[in-house]
Each structure stands twice: as structure tokens, then as C-alpha cells.
């Protein structure tokens, strides 16, 4: 009897240890990847890396200035198109989304969040690139916007729903029409949360590659015209990593470090916005 209890306690100890081991094993790749990014990436960062465009294939030197600027432009286009729609749809779901239409929109938003991004890429190719006759940063931005909308919709809805009901009642009691209650009270109260959701979505699309393969395409030159093909860091990493040259591999690690830094800046600022909000509350 006692030995049975001892055995059960021992099993409990062992399984606790196993879960600790799981946590360590799960964190191992994170540290490995970040470690490799810093070690291999930092060594390829220099002034040229940020101000020059890629050198001709096989040559040494060169940088990814075009890809850094391209990433910012395409993510900017995607955000400018995707954020208003996503936030608007999210506010709709929170305020009017009780009916059958709202339930459908909510479900489809969730389902679209899980859609493979490469499919959005071929969709936008058919929708934008083929009619235009050529690849463009605009098409890339549209693809990223399509990926953003469902994510931003759902986070916005959640954030507006979190606003206490009493605020709405107070506004209505003061004679505010419903639309001003929504726009000036509910949305304003939820704004830090909405911004957090938006920043997380921006962080997510900044690292996307697959939807840009057939839309923005990439470009070895420096371009700022959104109607022309444009390079991004993610596309650059793909080309460089799968290419045959040592020099390219070196640049790929540098580009990956910069891309990771951009993603983390958006991701961490999202956390920061939430934290300030809670401190104020």
C-alpha cells in the first residue's frame, strides 16, 4: 500500500520532470535560431550592407538597401489597404455582429486567417498581376493586405468587446447618437488594443514571402515605384539562401537578422502599447 503511494508520487515527480524537459526542448530551437542569426548575421552587417544594392552574381560586397526600402514600402502599402478594412470590419462585428451575417463574417475571418499565404499569392497574381501585365509592389501590398484583414478584424472585435458596457450606456444616456457612441467612446476606449492587434498583424506580414513570389517578384535594383517589381528582405533571403554563392549566403544571414529585428520591433511595440494601457487603466 505504502509502496503503491510511493510509486505514484515517484511517477508524479518523473512526469513533472518530463514537462520541464519539454519546456527546455521547446526553447532550444528558439535560442539556437536567435544565436545563429546574431552570430552569422552580425558579421555580415557593415555600412555597405545598408546603403548598397546586391552586387552582380558571384561578386563580393554589396548590400540589401533596395530590399530594406522595398520591405517598408510593400508593408506600408499592405497596411494602408488592410488596416482600415480590418478595423472597420472588426468594429462592425463588435457593434452589429450578432446576426447571421455577423456570425458568417466572424467564422470566415477565422477560416481565412488559416489560409496558406501562397494561395493568396496566386489569387492576387490572377486578380492584379495578369490584368496589369507585369509584377508590381502594389500587387504585393494587396496580397499582404488580404492576409491582414481577417487577423485585424478579429483582434479589433475582441478589443471593442472588452470595453465595459457602462461606457456605452453613459454615452447613450448623454444623448450621443449610436454612431458617435461607437466611434468616439467605444473605439477610442479600445484604441490601444486595436493598435496592438494592428502592430502584431504588421509584424506578421513583414516576414511574409510566399504571397510576394508571384506579385512583388523581387528586383535586384533600387526601386520606389510601386507599379514596378520590388525587392523585399524576405524575397532576398530566399534567393540568396537557395543560391550557390558563399557571398550570397553571408548576405542572406545579414538580411535575416535585419528582417527579424523589424518583425521584433513591431511585435515588441505591440506589447508596449498594451502595457501602457493597463498602467493607465
Amino acid at each position: 500500500m505504502i509502496s503503491g503511494l510511493t510509486r505514484r508520487r515517484l511517477l508524479s515527480r518523473i512526469m513533472t520532470g518530463v514537462t520541464v524537459l519539454c519546456a527546455i526542448l521547446a526553447l532550444a530551437p528558439l535560442f539556437a535560431i536567435f544565436g545563429d542569426l546574431v552570430v552569422r548575421g552580425a558579421s555580415s552587417l557593415n555600412w555597405d550592407f545598408f546603403v548598397k544594392n546586391p552586387a552582380a552574381a558571384g561578386d563580393t560586397g554589396g548590400g540589401v538597401a533596395n530590399a530594406i526600402v522595398g520591405t517598408l514600402i510593400i508593408v506600408g502599402v499592405g497596411s494602408a489597404l488592410g488596416l482600415p478594412v480590418g478595423i472597420g470590419a472588426g468594429v462592425y462585428l463588435a457593434e452589429y455582429g450578432g446576426g447571421r451575417f455577423g456570425v458568417t463574417v466572424r467564422f470566415l475571418a477565422d477560416v481565412l486567417t488559416g489560409t496558406p499565404s501562397v494561395i493568396v499569392g496566386v489569387f492576387v497574381w490572377m486578380l492584379v498581376v495578369r490584368p496589369m501585365g507585369h509584377f508590381s509592389a502594389l500587387a504585393g501590398g494587396i496580397a499582404l493586405a488580404i492576409l491582414m484583414v481577417p487577423m485585424v478584424t478579429r483582434t479589433t472585435e475582441e478589443m471593442v468587446r472588452l470595453v465595459p458596457h457602462s461606457l456605452r450606456e453613459a454615452a447613450l444616456a448623454l444623448g450621443f447618437p449610436r454612431w458617435r457612441t461607437t466611434a468616439q467612446v467605444m473605439v477610442r476606449a479600445a484604441w490601444p488594443g486595436i493598435v496592438t492587434g494592428a502592430l502584431v498583424a504588421v509584424a506578421r506580414i513583414a516576414g511574409e514571402t510566399a504571397p510576394l513570389l508571384f506579385t512583388a517578384l523581387g528586383n535586384l535594383n533600387f526601386r520606389t515605384n510601386v507599379l514596378q517589381p520590388m525587392q523585399t528582405l524576405s524575397l532576398q533571403i530566399y534567393v540568396f539562401a537557395t543560391g550557390p554563392f558563399e557571398e550570397w549566403h553571408r548576405l542572406a544571414w545579414g538580411a535575416a537578422l535585419v528582417l527579424m529585428a523589424i518583425v521584433l520591433v513591431f511585435g515588441l511595440s505591440a506589447r508596449f502599447v498594451t502595457r501602457t494601457r493597463f498602467r493607465d487603466g
Partner: protein, 321 residues
């Protein structure tokens, strides 16, 4: 409940009524983008895939010839490859992710929970092309030097591990996928387990259960549907993942169960061949996309229903970072 208060003049109140109507119409238009997008996606893919649907019918899904020269297309190897790589990823990731979720909700000291959870979820913030880069230059050399030789020495006779290891392989893809879906599965299961009422745990402990027995016999069964949902959500991610897979899987149109040999997935073939494809090959790639879309749709819908049952209404796991 007339919101147009009586002390306002009537022109104003009629403008307020207009304001409400216009505001609602504008928001509805934004919301309508989502179902329209969905319909456009399905319709566009189906129309573009129609030439191969008509030419090959169901044979497209069951034959394995992919020959752009002869214009014969069969998607069986990539459908199989998608399932095999995702299954491998689940086998590797699920035990780990559940272990992490259980540790974080049940055993970890309070001060450690948030940092560890944040770090694990940080895995979801790494762009997939960075995973691919790491796979090519770190994971594959590691596999070649330390994992494949002993693995083949012991299990080389089984069909799973026979064949020549070139580096790019199903195993590399499955391992990368496992790392990528781990944060999703662990984050959602953690939230599901945290939502289990404390009374379940306390009742088990009060009956004399050890802490592990409380987890195993009370907490896990209570959260079963949600944990299953978390796993299915991870499966959905793995099925559709593109860049990391295309960079390490080898992209060979072969139907092989060997994990050490190159393979191909549906997402990978689209990424790899779409820009060079025209005519019937492009239609074939659209049909691959349509099939992939259908599969991920079904898998994600199932996951949502399972998770919703536990945490109704809230989008559990939507926070990526």
C-alpha cells in the same frame, strides 16, 4: 428608447438618424469584404483550375505523373508529401507542446510562467523564410553529421529511413514544421488548460490524487476537445506552410515514404513552379491550390469548432507574439 433627445431640434435629430444609417452602412461594407474575399478566392481558384479539372478529373488526385512536357499532371506525390510532412511535424511537436502547456499551467512556479510562455510563442514570430535559411545552413548539416548516420545504422532497413540522404529531405521539412507549429499548439492548449475550472483539479487532489494524476485524470480529460482543437490548428498551419518547406524538402515529384529522401508538398510545388508555368501547368497549380485551400479550410473549421466549444467566442491563440 428613443435616443433623439427631446431638447434637440428636429433638423439635428434627422441628421443624427442619417449619421447612424451611414455609419452602419460603411461598417457593413468593410465587414462584407471578408465574405466577398472568400467567395472570390474560391471562385477564382476554381475557374483557373477548370482546364485540368476537365482534362484529368479525379485522376488528378490519384496519379503521380507530373510532366510539363507531355502536359500530364497528377498531384498524388504532393498530396502525399503534404500529409506525410505534416504528420511527421505533429508526431514531433504534439508531445513537446502538450508538455510545455502542462508545465506552464500546472507545475511551473508563478514567476516563470509568463517569460517561458512568451519565449515559446516568440517562435511564432520568426518568419518562415528565416526558418528555411536556418534549415539549410544549420539543421541539415546537423542532421547529416549527427542524426542520419546512427538513425540509418539502426533503422536503415525500414522503408521510412532507407535511401540516400542528400540533405534536402522530408525529415528536414518535418522537423522545421514541428518547430514552427509548436508555439501555436502550446499556446492554445495552455489557454484551454488554464480555462479548466480549478475545482476539477482540487477535487482530484482532495481524493488523494498526486499532482500528475490530477492533471492526467481531471484536467486533460476536461480540456480534451480544446487540446484536440489546438492540435488540429497546428495541423492546419503545417499543411499550408510554404517557404520553410520549399527551401528544405528538395522538391522532387516522387511518391516515397522514405523520410531521408527529398519530397514535395502542395504549397511547395506552387511556390517552386508557378512563375515558370503557363497553360495547363498553371491550371494544374491552381488546382493544387484549390485542393490545398479546401483541405486547410476543413481542418481550420474543425479546429475552430473544437476550440470554440471550450472558450466560446474568444479567438484563442490569435495572438502570435
Amino acid at each position: 428608447m428613443d435616443r433623439r433627445s427631446s431638447d434637440r431640434t428636429s433638423p439635428q435629430s434627422s441628421r443624427i438618424g442619417w449619421g447612424d444609417a451611414v455609419f452602419k452602412v460603411a461598417l457593413t461594407a468593410f465587414a462584407a469584404v471578408i465574405p466577398l474575399l472568400f467567395l472570390a478566392l474560391v471562385g477564382r481558384l476554381a475557374v483557373s483550375a477548370w482546364p485540368t479539372i476537365r482534362a484529368f478529373g479525379l485522376r488528378f488526385l490519384t496519379t503521380s505523373t507530373w510532366d510539363p512536357v507531355a502536359n500530364v499532371y497528377g498531384a498524388a506525390p504532393m498530396i502525399f508529401g503534404t500529409l506525410l510532412s505534416s504528420l511527421l511535424a505533429l508526431v514531433l511537436a504534439v508531445p513537446l507542446a502538450l508538455g510545455v502547456a502542462i508545465y506552464l499551467t500546472e507545475f511551473a512556479p508563478g514567476w516563470l510562467r509568463r517569460p517561458v510562455a512568451t519565449l515559446v510563442e516568440l517562435l511564432a514570430a520568426i518568419p518562415s523564410v528565416v526558418y528555411g535559411l536556418w534549415g539549410i545552413f544549420v539543421l541539415i548539416p546537423l542532421l547529416r553529421a549527427y542524426v542520419i548516420p546512427p538513425l540509418q545504422a539502426v533503422l536503415g532497413w525500414t522503408p521510412l529511413f532507407s535511401g540516400t540522404f542528400f540533405g534536402n529531405s522530408m525529415l528536414a521539412a518535418g522537423m522545421i514544421l514541428a518547430i514552427m507549429i509548436l508555439p501555436y499548439i502550446s499556446a492554445v492548449s495552455r489557454e484551454v488548460l488554464a480555462a479548466v475550472p480549478p475545482s476539477q483539479r482540487e477535487a482530484a487532489l482532495a481524493l488523494g490524487a498526486t499532482r500528475w494524476e490530477a492533471v492526467w485524470s481531471a484536467v486533460l480529460p476536461y480540456g480534451r476537445a480544446g487540446v484536440l482543437g489546438a492540435i488540429v490548428l497546428g495541423l492546419g498551419r503545417a499543411l499550408g506552410e510554404t517557404m520553410a518547406v520549399v527551401m528544405v524538402i528538395g522538391n522532387r515529384h516522387d511518391l516515397s515514404v522514405s523520410l531521408v529522401e527529398p519530397g514535395i508538398t502542395m504549397a511547395a510545388v506552387i511556390a517552386n513552379e508557378f512563375n515558370e508555368a503557363a497553360g495547363l501547368q498553371r491550371a494544374a497549380l491552381f488546382e493544387v491550390g484549390l485542393v490545398l485551400f479546401g483541405v486547410t479550410l476543413a481542418v481550420n473549421a474543425l479546429a475552430r469548432l473544437l476550440v470554440w466549444r471550450v472558450a466560446r467566442g474568444s479567438a484563442v491563440g490569435s495572438r502570435a507574439i
